[in-house]
Amino acid sequence: MVKLLIGRKLGMTQLFTEAGTVIPVTVLEVGPCPVVQVRDAVKDGYRAVQIGFGVRKEKRTSKPQQGHFRKAGVEPCRVLREAPVAGEELPKPGERITVGQVFAEGGKVDVTATTKGQGFQGTVKRHHFGRGPVTHGSKNTREPGSTGQHTWPGRVYKGKRMPGHMGAVRRTVKNLTVVKIEAEQHRLFLKGAVPGPTGAIVCVQHAKTARVMKKS
């Protein structure tokens, strides 16, 4: 079965446990993802599948892409991603993979998405620099301060943290717990936050570095 699915972020809310504690959850709409192309060891040298998510109008799809989707017998999708496969069997093109087939409640997942764009930001927000005094004639409240030494080395070191564009980059949040799955609604409830705004396209996959519980 594939180890990754594509979804959409619906937003955050909270769930009550029976004991009355509250779990903060992010709700994702994951799948169903049709298999658009299969990559096998013979032809491609590695095993994976290309899966799609969402709907795209036929007339908004380029001719070559239309053919690509038609070959698999799939309606044009908004996004395409490659998903690694576990196990011997490869899914067939056109097969629709749902959340319930891939993830289980209590499991760990990694979520990859594009973070919210913050625009051009100063060092205080962007790199958590401290700020200067606010009063007593201070003129360096949110200034970055010194960027280096003196005549030697006579330059600013590469990688010096400075103001600049922040956010709108691809980020992965690892080891989120799957709190609940609503398979019919294709919903996945994860404990904690996920990058991106509501409506963002996210990739959910089995956690790569999750610690496996020792059997006692």
């Binding site: 619906l10 909270q14 709700v27 919903r187």
Partner: protein, 140 residues
């Protein structure tokens, strides 16, 4: 947002008594205690504790709504924030309705003694269950 509303609705209690800021309420809170039945043998027991006080704030919406109840215990102000839809909150009973002119009664924190009282409202036609004046005690 509509899809999240559906999810929150599944978390919400179907019946919430009509209570407002300024009301004096009894909140029934379930408490789980570990009691020693025999030597070395424990058992979990659930009991209901009642927290009585004035509602000074309601905030949030959907399943995330909370309310704050303030009371004076042994001369010390005590405030508890309850998630309205928490399974631990077993019931809310309105003891007295209050006549207030703001949504958050944080000014009560700076007062003590008689000044902490909220004027009682005898009858409120906008409340559920209040048909004719004077209304009987609202049931929770």
């Amino acid at each position: 947002m509509r899809k999240l509303d559906d999810i929150e609705r599944t978390q919400m209690k179907s019946e919430i008594p009509d209570f407002r800021v300024g009301d004096t309420v009894d909140v029934s809170v379930s408490i789980v205690e570990t009691v020693e039945v025999k030597k070395g043998k424990t058992e979990e027991k659930e009991r209901i504790q009642i927290f009585n006080g004035t509602v000074i704030a309601r905030r949030g919406s959907g399943s995330r709504e909370t309310f704050t109840v303030r009371r004076i215990v042994a001369g010390e102000g005590v405030e508890r924030v309850f998630p309205l839809h928490s399974p631990k909150v077993k019931g809310i009973k309105v003891r007295r309705m209050g006549r207030v002119r703001r949504a958050k009664l944080y000014y009560l924190r700076d007062r003590s003694g008689k000044a902490t009282r909220v004027t009682e409202k005898i009858w409120d036609k906008t409340r559920a269950g209040a048909t004719e004046p004077p209304a009987p005690e609202t049931q929770g």
